[in-house]
């Protein structure tokens, strides 16, 4: 469980390696839930560029991991978020949680994704053939975290 919990990286991640690492050397895990976010290639998206606030990103995600650990009996957790240039179909984000039972793993993963989307300082820029635009926050994110209060 001394594995690194948060990575912000430009390179891709290997889902099976990350998933396996969540329960390595541990006999009390009975459930692993993983979420993988992918670049959706709608409206002829050519490229997505992800910018972040390096000094804030990992501490902000860390706060929500700490909160998730207070709420659920988590055995291990892993959050990976990619930055830089990503093409449609590529992985953007990985959240994995191991716990003794499924409910805690499902809920903690859902919680972490909601807080990641509403609070982690990332911004997406979409490039299309006719130009580019910054992705607008839908406003749904701040609604979705209300269910965790």
């Amino acid at each position: 469980m001394a594995v690194q919990e948060i990575s912000i990286q430009s390179e891709d991640f290997d889902v099976s390696i990350e998933t396996k690492a969540l329960t390595e050397g541990c006999n009390d895990a009975g459930a692993v839930v993983t979420f993988i976010g992918i670049v959706r290639g709608d409206n002829e998206l050519k490229l997505m560029r992800l910018e972040h606030y390096p000094a804030m990103t990992a501490p902000e995600i860390g706060k929500h991991i700490d909160e998730a650990k207070r709420r659920w009996p988590i055995i291990s957790v892993r959050v990976i978020h990619r930055i830089g240039e990503l093409k449609p179909g590529e992985n953007i984000v990985f959240v994995g949680v191991a716990s003794a039972h499924r409910r805690a793993a499902f809920e903690a993963t859902d919680f972490l994704m909601d807080y990641l989307k509403s609070n982690a300082p990332f911004w997406k820029f979409e490039e299309r053939s006719e130009g580019g635009n910054w992705v607008k926050a839908s406003g749904k994110e701040s609604e979705e975290i209300k269910r965790w209060r």
Binding site: M113, K117, A120, F122, W123, F125
Partner: protein, 84 residues
């Protein structure tokens, strides 16, 4: 001196990603800093034209605009986040 950071379209409108400045007299919170910045040029004015579309963090934590600031703080301005 305070360090001011700009991200995403706010960075593009202002034309720089960061700057250091001595907090002027009369600037004690984020809202007052924004008013002061807006007077510095059209890029700033454009970036903060819809202040409700701008978020801020002080020393890497999300904070509201009425938060007190002081020299030595790192103050970041950015649009609502869109990661994940």
């Amino acid at each position: 001196m305070a360090k001011i950071l700009y991200f995403a379209w706010i960075r593009q409108k202002i034309g720089k990603s960061e700057e250091e400045l001595v907090l002027p007299d009369g600037v004690s919170n984020v809202r007052e800093l924004v008013s002061n910045l807006v007077a510095r040029g059209p890029g700033y004015a454009e970036a903060f034209r819809q202040a409700q579309a701008v978020r801020c963090a002080i020393n890497q934590e999300h904070k509201p605009f009425d938060t007190t600031i002081k020299d030595g703080d790192e103050i970041a301005f950015f649009p609502p986040v869109t990661g994940g």
